[in-house]
Symmetry: C2
Subunit: 272 residues, 2 copies
Amino acid sequence: MPFREKLVSAIAARGSLLCVGLDPEIARLPAPLPRTPDGALRLNLAVIEATADLACAYKPNLAFYEALGREGYDVLRATLGAIPRDVPVIGDAKRGDIGNTARQYAAALFDDLGFDAVTVNPYLGGDAVEPFLAYADRGVLVVCRTSNPGAAEIQDLPVVDDGTTVPLYEVVARRVQRWNRDGNAGLVVGATAPTELDRIREIAPDLPILVPGIGAQAGDLAAAVRADRPGAPAIISASRTIMFAGSGLDFAAAAHRAARELRDAIRQARSG
Amino acid sequence: MPFREKLVSAIAARGSLLCVGLDPEIARLPAPLPRTPDGALRLNLAVIEATADLACAYKPNLAFYEALGREGYDVLRATLGAIPRDVPVIGDAKRGDIGNTARQYAAALFDDLGFDAVTVNPYLGGDAVEPFLAYADRGVLVVCRTSNPGAAEIQDLPVVDDGTTVPLYEVVARRVQRWNRDGNAGLVVGATAPTELDRIREIAPDLPILVPGIGAQAGDLAAAVRADRPGAPAIISASRTIMFAGSGLDFAAAAHRAARELRDAIRQARSG
């Protein structure tokens, strides 16, 4: 099933816009788990089980698996195998390279690992994003305005485009609108930048937007929810707040509670 | 040994600015090799042996290993193990993510895989590059102006910075100068953009510059050589022209010949 349909179905089935990030940082594993790749996998499996009825999507960030070395691939595979089949999985990879190389990344992420969607970087231009977009049934979420403190340094630079001066992230949003020939593109916009998120939603009214930065990064939940549109969802993502909600024996129950609270806060903001 | 010293030593020892890209695309493997991860490794080992006296650096692009799936990691490891220890290895990864995640990528690339240098993407800003720069003995080559046909779409956008309007890639070059507190930063600028390369060298007189795009992408060799400075080398990189110089039984000899010709063409341009 194409990414967007699968996402919209999962949102409807669970009544949730919450995406759970699966970033098993070894140094932060709950005390009962060994600080090993196996411990990372056990945390992932517990978090998936504890949130299976609450998450409209899962989002493993590849960095946390690559940091595990040789065993990272197997941990990622086993993690993907445990995710309910009706829930889309976003590979947070933020790849960006020239066309010939981008095709290899797309093959790795879509053909080999089977992600429903991936995140990519816009800096190399449309021809570097095209090999991902060529997979018409997969989602391609282009990094637009990120949630980190230094995001503004490059992304907010004033750019002259079509006769007006706008921040670079606005130009990126405009370009992604143009690149989106098959309707499978989307954007990544951090919840820590609510004004920018509102503006980007105006520019791109019908693109799904992945909104990280809720939770540990203290993003603006109301702004994230405001970006939600029928058929073009806001995918509101939290990782550390859920993964590391508990540091002791209760880590799975704590993850469930943290995810439920976030899902409910999102629900309340949607109906309020 | 810090990346820059190791690089300068290897350049002096071999009288060569040639960096050999190790991108073993399965679909293009020479006929005598099986189109499998093992075939990819055998090509890499043959190319390394055939170019060991000609290359001042090697540059595996991670995409080609990730596309091999589970076995890609072992192919990369075995490849790294075959590279002469006095030659620096650049992990062409173009990673870019927020600080917490960038630290994981840096751990994967520097601690686990042991690269002497990596390529990174500037779009997320200085705090996303900082976790790489924190490894003071490793090189961090920031993507500035790339070699693909669509590079201009984002990188050439006119940006207002410090009161003047300049292309975005110039602002990136300026920022990398600023981020470079420990002297371990560098840039990536494609040889297909000779005017831009000249301009970037003016802005950043003392940064090493990785210059891909020679060979298959038909970049400007004279411009690449013009960017070379004592202590701040131009690392002139070719991949496909060398890896796939021969498609039959002679592939190793053909790779040697192609690398020697490129090394000599660079030498001639340097002395000319």
